[in-house]
Symmetry: C2
Subunit: 244 residues, 2 copies
Amino acid sequence: MQKPVALTQLRVACSGCNLRELCLPVKLTGADLELLDELISLKHAYQRGDYLYRSGARFQSLYAIRTGFFKTQVLHEDGREQVTGFQMAGEIIGMDAISSDSHACDAIALEDSEVCEIPFVRLEELSRRLPSLQRHLHRILSREIVRDQGIMLLLGSMRAEERLAAFLLNLSQRFSVRGYSPTSFHLRMTRQEIGSYLGMKLETVSRTLSHFQAIGLISIRNKSVELNDLVKLQTFVGPPPQLL
Amino acid sequence: MQKPVALTQLRVACSGCNLRELCLPVKLTGADLELLDELISLKHAYQRGDYLYRSGARFQSLYAIRTGFFKTQVLHEDGREQVTGFQMAGEIIGMDAISSDSHACDAIALEDSEVCEIPFVRLEELSRRLPSLQRHLHRILSREIVRDQGIMLLLGSMRAEERLAAFLLNLSQRFSVRGYSPTSFHLRMTRQEIGSYLGMKLETVSRTLSHFQAIGLISIRNKSVELNDLVKLQTFVGPPPQLL
DNA sequence: CGGGGACTTGATACTGTTCAATTTCCGTGG
DNA sequence: CCACGGAAATTGAACAGTATCAAGTCCCCG
């Protein structure tokens, strides 16, 4: 009942759910582990194009992506839309809804996906009893804030080439962490969605990708990308051209 | 010891600290109220230009602004900077630091200011005991995420005029909530800081403000602004020009 | 195999940037 | 109190980077 569970065990216990984000750094006793397991026991499948939630919907749960790929977007009343993020396995989604008890954006599956639903009231209960879980939840919320600030930096002070290079490197890094190739992967989103996320038009995305290919930085055919030179790509996310 | 404290009382107890953000919606008993009072007992004064914290500094506390005005900014290694927000009395600052235990941005006073320091470990302790405080903390973190998404929308899909109109209306609304005039106020920040925040150059900020003035929307002289037509200003934050 | 959406590419238009010259404002010291 | 000097702001003109519009190709799904 009270014997501690090693991190590695916990990793196994939660790995079926791919909940790195929520579980890994938390050390638990057996009984608490059961509670946590129960907390994340609700699993759902979504097909490409399905909404995980819609803007305005009542907030009840966070969602941990087990497998698959999502985008989140906010809609302006005049019809403009802004993609606010692309989420992949192991990431937590839905945190924007806590503040007003209703979702502030749409979440849409970009490929067939599986998701764990985490009822927020129960997560709060449990995190009151488990300081390490509490701290971890706070870290996850804070990480989202930091991520958003990074995107503000990108949107506010980078040019198209830099934005796209940063975007590709970000995907590369996230695939790498999950055990996939950092240099060769499949874009799950359209040029238009990339453009919306990066604050540029789909034509500019396409042109810039073509340009990267022309100078040998990447190879791209449709949605398959190969990053030929991560280091040089990194230099694109740097100083403005004339100040080098 | 256990008698509940009415919301109005709590409002009084905390109003000296201007901590609307942290305190108001929380109902407490007398003993807990003392703890909360103690939690926010550390107060500091800052002069214009002072750093509240610097990027990279070890994280220990959140800060509640009692009076004054701050900006937060992230610095890119190549020297570019992005202002990520302007904070005024009653707002909480420093939440980006939770994720990595070190601050991810700089916070700088734009005028002489007073701040309550809130040791985060103790805030977590207390919020474990007080569900309503816990929920409120989560709301504050989430609100920051929603706010950032709004800025992403602004940076990613609005033109200069729209951004500036949205910015002025946002300030107007926040001043209004605090009991100041929504139509006449003083800009605490430079054109360059506005520009950094909105993703445009200071010259463009200046030109756009001049243009707003030329068409009678606003009156501006240096840092004093007067919004002559809130409704019309709102229409600027709307559809792209040709789609009206 | 047909059709529609996604993508690429080109030509042109336009928004916002860059560079530069003044002017205004404001804090400091005479 | 006023004069000075540097920062902030305004304004103009030329330029650059993206957007827009348009045509055509490719790909995937049914």
